[in-house]
């Protein structure tokens, strides 16, 4: 049987037996998507690659714990694991971070004319926009808007308050909107 045609369940079972070919297939199938997840959270390619490796190794070590519940559940499991690994890393980094004090107001951003305009932006550009948000904003935006965590979960995960999370999210959105506007202006739309 060729490895590229086997089902998710088989793949998971064979990985659990430490079958090298199955592990290679796991990598080929999911590395790119998990890399994107890491990049989305960590905002830096080099580090995202490193993080993806960590997550992948962890996944291969603990795939015995995976419960199959239909096609797509393997990816969902891997993705959740990757998100958790990413948040852990961010939390570690956060400890060492020093925040200089300097308060200035952020310029007001005009609302998007038409949300549909944003649809024309390539996914990689959007990803880069998310990646270039400051750490805390990026984390909250990712967790809430893309990975579907609640403010309560976010608050617990990164040790802020629920209200704080909501207000950071609003700022993240504002910043993204202005990035989208800039991009649309630059590309002449």
């Amino acid at each position: 049987m060729r490895t590229d045609s086997i089902s998710e369940l088989d793949l998971a079972l064979r990985c659990a037996r430490k079958d090298q070919k199955a592990q290679a297939e796991l990598y080929t199938r999911y590395a790119g998507r998990l890399y994107a997840v890491c990049f989305r959270y960590i905002g830096n390619r080099e580090e995202a690659q490193d993080l993806m490796h960590d997550a992948m190794i962890k996944a291969m070590d603990s795939i015995r714990l995976f419960h199959f519940s239909g096609e797509g559940s393997l990816y969902a499991w891997l993705r959740r694991l990757t998100v958790n690994v990413s948040i852990d890393r961010l939390r570690e980094k956060g400890k060492a971070q020093i925040v200089p004090l300097d308060l200035t107001m952020e310029p007001a951003v005009s609302e998007l004319q038409d949300d549909e305009d944003a649809d024309s932006i390539p996914a990689q550009v959007m990803l880069d926009m998310v990646a270039s948000l400051p750490d805390v904003r990026r984390t909250v935006f990712n967790m809430y808007c893309i990975d579907g965590f609640s403010h309560k979960e976010i608050a617990q995960a990164i040790n802020i308050t629920e209200k704080g999370s909501a207000s950071i999210l609003a700022k993240a959105r504002t910043q993204l909107k202005s990035a989208v506007n800039d991009y649309l202006k630059r590309t002449g739309r």
Partner: protein, 255 residues
């Protein structure tokens, strides 16, 4: 608001990013290194349990001394250390590996191990591992500080977003001077050159010692060239947003 989020979610949910071509190889390398380290850690444990009680105690002392010398950066001139060395020399020739793996959890350890594995036995009188590792004046933190303070990232790398980790191997001579710096993992020729410059310009190290004698020791250090997001922006924007986030997150805690 919702629409805006949805667009991002839709586009980024299952988005696949292209990995560098060599990524899979480096992934397997890394996995293998990890597994080897884990296996050795297990082996050492079984060996320690299996050996007579005296030997076990001696190994424990050895580990403690090793850890202490790592942490305090003041390796003790302890007679016990010599005894331990002689003891552990006997059971297997693999004793160098134990020295590495025992305290191997950090990055530096991993790379040191790699360097050791790739070494051919050709070069005489250059040690890979000694009782007392050579040391940058002031220890590892001082080394990191030195690299941070003296690093100059070429403008062209900054513009083209070239960054990464360069591994440089060199020899710490008996008098502590640095010779034969070689890039073993390259990122870009400009960054490689900068890494070599940094290494060559280091102040004299404290030489490594074996049985109290200064020896030539091979050493590998990783040099991280990182273009921080913040550095690319004007200072005000970066700090302002970071501070606002912190303010927002602590606001209802404090009031």
């Amino acid at each position: 608001m919702k629409d805006f989020d949805d667009i991002f979610k839709e586009r980024l949910d299952d988005y696949e990013m292209k990995l560098p071509t060599m990524d899979q190889q480096s992934f397997w390398d890394r996995k293998a290194v990890r597994e080897r380290a884990a296996r050795r850690r297990r082996n050492i444990l079984t060996a320690a349990v299996g050996l007579p009680a005296v030997a076990a105690v001696l190994i424990a002392i050895m580990m403690t001394i090793n850890l202490l010398s790592r942490n305090n950066a003041t390796p003790p001139e302890n007679p016990e250390l010599t005894i331990v060395q002689q003891q552990s020399d006997k059971p297997d020739t693999d004793n160098t590996v134990q020295w590495i793996t025992i305290d191997n959890d950090g990055d530096l350890g991993e790379t040191m191990e790699k360097a050791q594995l790739s070494e051919s036995p050709g070069e005489e009188d250059v040690y890979m591992v000694v009782e007392e590792s050579p040391e940058f004046p002031g220890g590892t933190n001082a080394l990191m500080g030195y690299l941070r303070d003296n690093m100059v990232i070429p403008d062209s790398c900054r513009e083209n977003n070239i960054q990464g980790r360069v591994l440089v191997t060199f020899i710490v001579e008996k008098d502590g001077s640095i010779t034969k710096p070689v890039v073993v993992k390259s990122v870009n020729h400009l960054l490689d050159a900068e890494a070599l410059r940094l290494v060559s310009a280091m102040p004299k190290w404290k030489p490594g010692r074996q049985n109290g004698q200064a020896q030539r020791v091979k050493f590998t250090i990783p040099i991280n060239f990182r273009l921080d997001y913040y550095k690319n922006r004007t200072k005000a924007t970066a700090t302002e947003s970071a501070v606002e986030d912190i303010m927002a997150s602590t606001k209802d805690k404090t009031f």
